[in-house]
């Protein structure tokens, strides 16, 4: 019996990514695709006093971390860490199959909203 191998796509952003870029990757990724969205120590890097990052970058990272957690809660990605060295990790999101849900008709929704208004 032949084993079926799936080619997973690994991506590492050339520069720090934002929330919307992360969401764009989640929306486009096929199951098994991996994205390294941060490298370092996320909790410390996003913490106001300890972080060595500039304030805008720190806030962006905090939002990104929250968004990645939200995506994992929404069953869109798995979140894993790879240890690079002492206190140094690669934070990786792995795309999951899109959750199945019953489709909702946009027209019906708009009609209901119109009646409610």
């Amino acid at each position: 019996m032949l084993m079926k191998h799936t080619a997973f796509t690994n991506a590492r952003a050339p520069h720090p990514i934002s929330e919307i870029e992360f969401c764009g990757w989640v929306g486009q990724a096929v199951p098994g695709d991996r994205l390294e969205y941060h490298r370092g120590f996320l909790v410390l890097d996003a913490f106001p006093v300890i972080s060595k990052l500039a304030d805008p970058d720190r806030k962006r990272l905090a939002l990104l971390g929250t968004r990645a957690f939200w995506a994992a809660e929404a069953s869109l990605v798995h979140l894993v860490q790879e240890r690079i060295g002492p206190d140094h990790f690669a934070y990786i999101a792995i795309a999951r199959p899109k959750p199945k849900a019953a489709a909702v008709s946009l027209s019906a929704l708009l009609l209901a909203e119109q009646q409610a208004a």
Binding site: E19, C23, G27, A103, V104, S105, L109, L110, A112, Q114
Partner: protein
């Protein structure tokens, strides 16, 4: 010397020439300025042939009608030949596309090649159907509150929702921002390939 033409005959000839010129002008689909030229050409030919009119064989109107019809056909043929030599053969949507083809030109054109698309109207029915299905799928995945908010935004602007007392302005903008991220993560929004980070 030919007897002078009567007023009645002259009026009849002019009226027939007018009708024939309008008919020919419509057939050729030419510019409005061509109408007078066509009328002139038809009248000159008719006047040249007037000596052949025999009142015992029919009325002046019938004679003029036949002469004008023949001359209009000759002008139309000449016009058609000129047009073919200048811009090639005329194309019809109902004509077969290419020699030996059974499909007409109209059947080989897609909606995106249509006149409506040239004028900026999206005529791609398949893309529209795909978008509708994507919307239905994503709406099904949203939380009920987000779904209702999404439908409300589809009906009215944010300031109208504020006026209706749905929430404060800042809270609604925050929810819109959340909704945008949510929709993007589910495939409706800017894609990763479009970002500089990709």
């Amino acid at each position: 010397m030919q007897p002078p033409i009567s007023r009645h005959h002259l009026a009849c000839i002019l009226a027939e020439a007018d009708v024939a010129a309008h008919r020919l002008h419509r057939r050729l689909c030419g510019p409005a300025a061509d109408l007078d030229d066509l009328r002139q050409d038809l009248l000159i030919d008719l006047i040249c042939r007037l000596p052949a009119f025999d009142a015992s064989r029919g009325s002046i109107g019938a004679f003029a009608g036949i002469v004008l019809r023949n001359q209009a056909s000759r002008i139309a043929l000449k016009h058609h030949r000129d047009r073919c030599s200048r811009v090639g053969a005329l194309v019809s949507l109902d004509a077969p596309f290419g020699p030996g083809a059974t499909d007409t030109l109209g059947e080989t054109l897609s909606q995106s090649d249509g006149l409506a698309t040239w004028h900026g109207q999206d005529g791609d029915e398949f893309a529209r159907t795909d978008l509708r299905r994507d919307l239905s799928r994503v709406l099904g995945q949203l939380a009920p509150a987000a779904r209702i908010f999404c439908a409300a935004l589809g009906q009215c602007a944010l300031r109208d929702l504020v006026a209706r007392g749905v929430g404060s302005r800042s809270a609604l903008y925050r929810r819109t921002s959340e909704l945008r991220l949510d929709l993007t993560a589910r495939g409706l929004g800017p894609a990763w390939d479009g970002f500089p980070a990709a």
